[in-house]
């Protein structure tokens, strides 16, 4: 029995919005939705679900596109949206943190130490607004800023500036997690790393000892990655939970590291006569970071630019590709500007736009508008098939070529954009009918396998969630199997069962339900 004051509903009109996510590609069903307001209520709900062996799926901001928050197997939903306050404030208030309330959320900030403690439901946009007043920034910048911080930690989210600042994993100092048995644990970034292949995690009830697989059986790519659990011999306990897509626990408090506010940025868009010029310019930049200290590098191909032409006049007609990049103005940029101008001329640049700071938000919003425009384009058609692959930098040029060749061979309409600085591009196929959709999926499989062969990942930022794929032999498997095989899936399954023997929490994410 749950405490009376826990809010819940079985009203299907209330549950309905939680039965899909941003992708609209998944459909779920649920008998109840719970709205815990703090850590102890969250713990109570999960503990009760664990005792009753009933399935629970956790919902954050609903901005994911892999079905992670969609209860496809039924059961109940836990929405974290009412956990708007930090659970254990006292120790932080004594350490010089101050409490800030904004837009219905309450967070703790320590300006001097550049740290903040936030509730899981806090949207990044609200966090940024609060931090502005303190002249601070939280670097992870996923395209979708209405994402909740809990969701972004669950998926190890990244964004344009991850090129310079890295993904979410780099910015988490401490988490409080409600484990699948309802017990709570606190994990700090300084906790003991795995020793001799064993990672120790203590909760209120149990001391867990997780066996970390050898690299041969679970080769985590050494690049930006959001596919599967992070498992490595020197990993921190924190690493296990960041990017676990909810299968090991639910965050109740998150402490993040901050930096001085990122300001005085230059935003440039360079248009190229050919794609190779764009790719080569990026290659020079990525391999000469000292000469070219950029903080983001984004790619748009010709078809992406075509989609954007309705939003922005003046995009050169003959531009086959564009790179949008940013750097920080430190008052002495003339040398760097000359270098950039010089370099761009070597790589068939048509023109550049130097975006004044007052207009940089508009240009950056293109990156956001683009997927939205694609989604509205495919709505009346056959859905889209989009890749999220990334490869090590020394393989990028080969991968780029392969994507180009394979995609042209399909004869389908497609467009390519993404975080090229991280060797990470999204190829979006826009099939017109079911047969074209199948063709797109076959090409997706081919390219994903090639990325894995090159030491890359099938998902650099979206996560794998409940995504499945049909193999050449007609069998359907979880997407992650392409990357780690059945062995990898079983390894993850074993770790999940350590924490969640009844497989009740966010079941179906990353690995199959049974």
């Amino acid at each position: 029995m749950l405490t009376d004051k826990i809010r819940y509903s079985s009203d299907q009109s209330i549950i309905q919005p939680y039965l899909t996510d941003e992708s609209s590609a998944f459909r779920g069903n649920a008998d109840y939705i719970f709205f815990p307001e703090n850590e102890s209520e969250l713990s109570e709900i999960i503990s009760s679900a664990s005792k009753n062996q009933s399935l629970v799926t956790v919902s954050g901001g609903g901005t994911g596109i892999t079905g992670s928050r969609v209860p496809v197997l039924g059961g109940s939903i836990i929405s974290t949206e009412k956990i708007t306050d930090v659970s254990k404030k006292e120790p932080f208030l004594q350490q010089g943190f101050i409490q800030v309330k904004d837009s219905g959320y309450s967070i703790l900030i320590n300006k001097e130490e550049k740290r903040a403690v936030v509730p899981p439901s806090l949207p990044l946009s609200v966090l940024n607004d609060i931090l502005k007043n303190f002249d601070l920034s939280y670097p992870p910048d996923p395209t979708e800023m209405s994402a909740t911080i809990g969701g972004t930690v669950s998926t190890n989210a990244s964004g344009a500036r991850s090129y310079y600042y890295g993904a979410t994993r780099n910015w988490i100092k401490r988490i409080r997690v409600v484990l699948p048995d309802g017990s709570v644990t606190e994990i700090k970034d300084t906790d003991q790393t795995a020793q001799n292949g064993i990672l120790k995690i203590q909760s209120e009830n149990i001391n867990y000892e997780i066996k970390i697989p050898a690299r041969e059986s679970y080769p985590v790519p050494e690049i930006k990655n959001a596919a599967g659990l992070y498992l490595s011999q020197k990993m921190r306990p924190l690493d296990l939970f960041i990017g676990c897509e909810g299968i090991l626990g639910v965050f109740s408090d998150i402490e993040i590291a901050l930096i001085n506010r990122i300001k005085n940025t230059f935003t440039i868009v360079a248009f190229f006569e050919d794609k190779k010029g764009a790719v080569d310019f990026v290659d020079f930049t990525v391999t000469n970071k000292k000469i070219m200290p950029l903080i983001s590098l984004e790619y748009f191909d010709f078809n992406s630019l075509e989609f954007l032409k309705t939003e922005q006049a003046g995009i050169p007609e003959k531009a086959q590709a564009a790179i949008l990049f940013e750097f920080i103005e430190d008052g002495n940029q003339d040398d760097l500007l000359y270098k950039i101008v010089e370099k761009l001329e070597e790589y068939s640049v048509i023109t550049t736009w130097d975006i004044p700071e007052s207009k940089s938000d508009k240009i950056k919003s293109f990156r956001h508008i683009l997927p939205e425009k694609i989604n509205s384009y495919v709505k009346s058609r056959c859905g889209k098939v989009g890749t999220d692959i990334a490869v090590p930098h020394n393989k990028f040029s080969l991968m780029f070529q392969a994507c180009e060749t394979e995609s042209l061979n399909t004869g389908l309409k497609f467009l390519v954009f993404g975080h090229i600085g991280n060797d990470h591009l999204h190829i979006n196929y826009l099939p017109e009918n079911n047969s074209e959709h199948k063709t797109a999926m076959r090409t997706y499989l081919k390219l994903a396998k090639l990325a894995v062969k090159m030491g890359g990942t099938i998902s650099a930022e979206h996560g794998v969630g409940k995504k499945y794929i049909e193999l050449e032999n007609g069998t359907t498997v979880p997407c992650l199997e392409i990357m780690y095989g059945k062995t990898g899936i079983n390894l993850i399954s074993d770790i999940k069962k350590h924490f969640d023997p009844g497989m009740i929490l966010n079941t179906g994410n990353i690995i199959p339900p049974a």
């Binding site: 500007l337 130097d354 007052s358 207009k359």
Partner: protein, 260 residues
């Protein structure tokens, strides 16, 4: 066309501006300055005419030395030459004195065919300076242009009116003020930005302009600001709060009550 003159004003970025509640004036401190957006449309229109028909684009502004930043941005966008009318005695000018001073600067440039201005500045919203310049120069004016065509030495302009537009032709020289519908201003190029850093900015004072000091600045301004106030809000708002379902029910009830 030989010379196209574009008049620009540096204004505070009103997206980021706040009002001082006591004085009801703009708080300008710490607010970034930008080129008045309509003036960017004017410059873009000039650059497009230059690309089509060939011309020099000369940008003129009046203001304190920091207006040079706006003029450098105009160079980065593609202006060939920039001129700043700057003198302590120009300070406090209303639209009449501003029009007079800019007209004096334009007279100095000579050989102009076309003068393009934004329809109004976003900080003052008067829309008087463009027409004022035309009057001081005693040349034709066409306001609120949404399209500028040029054929056989004549200008053909589509002028926005309620529910449509009117087509007006004129001989040159003339003054045209433009709306934002006319084009989307280009971004400065990186090369342009480099060029702008070292661009020479001509600065003219009262003497250079052979201006009558009684017609410039505060001295020359017939407008006297007596009081600035925020107009009272006429409509009354009712805000419903509570659960979404409750709120929706309340709203629906209210709409029924009002028979909307």
């Amino acid at each position: 066309m030989k010379n196209i003159i574009v008049c620009i004003k540096q204004v505070p970025d009103t997206d980021k501006v706040q009002i001082n509640r006591e004085t009801n004036t703009l708080i300008r401190e710490g607010v970034p300055s930008i080129i008045n957006p309509f003036d960017e449309n004017a410059l873009e229109a000039a650059l497009q005419l230059k690309e089509k028909f060939g011309a020099r684009v000369i940008v003129v502004s009046m203001g304190p030395p920091q207006v040079k930043d706006a003029l450098r941005q105009a160079v980065a966008m593609g202006a060939d030459e920039v001129v700043l009318a700057s003198d302590r005695s120009f300070a406090g000018a209303d639209t009449w004195a501003t029009s007079y001073t800019l007209a004096q600067a334009i007279k100095e440039i000579e050989n102009y065919d076309l003068i393009i201005c934004g329809k109004q500045a976003i900080d003052g919203d008067t829309a008087q300076v463009g027409p004022g310049i035309a009057e001081f120069l005693d040349i034709p004016q066409i306001t609120f242009a949404q399209e500028i065509g040029y054929e056989e030495n004549r200008l053909k302009v589509k002028r926005v009116i309620e529910n449509g537009y009117e087509e007006i032709e004129t001989e040159l020289p003339a003054v045209v003020t433009v709306t934002k519908e006319i084009n989307e201003p280009r971004y400065p190029s990186l090369k342009g930005k480099m060029k702008a850093k070292s661009a020479e900015i001509t600065v003219w004072d009262t003497e250079d302009l052979e201006a009558d000091e009684n017609k410039t600045g505060l001295n020359g301004s017939p407008t006297k600001v007596v009081k600035i106030f925020t107009p009272p809000v006429k409509a009354s708002n009712e805000i419903f709060t509570g659960d979404p379902s409750e709120t929706a029910a309340k709203l629906a009830g209210k709409l029924k009550e009002l028979k909307i």
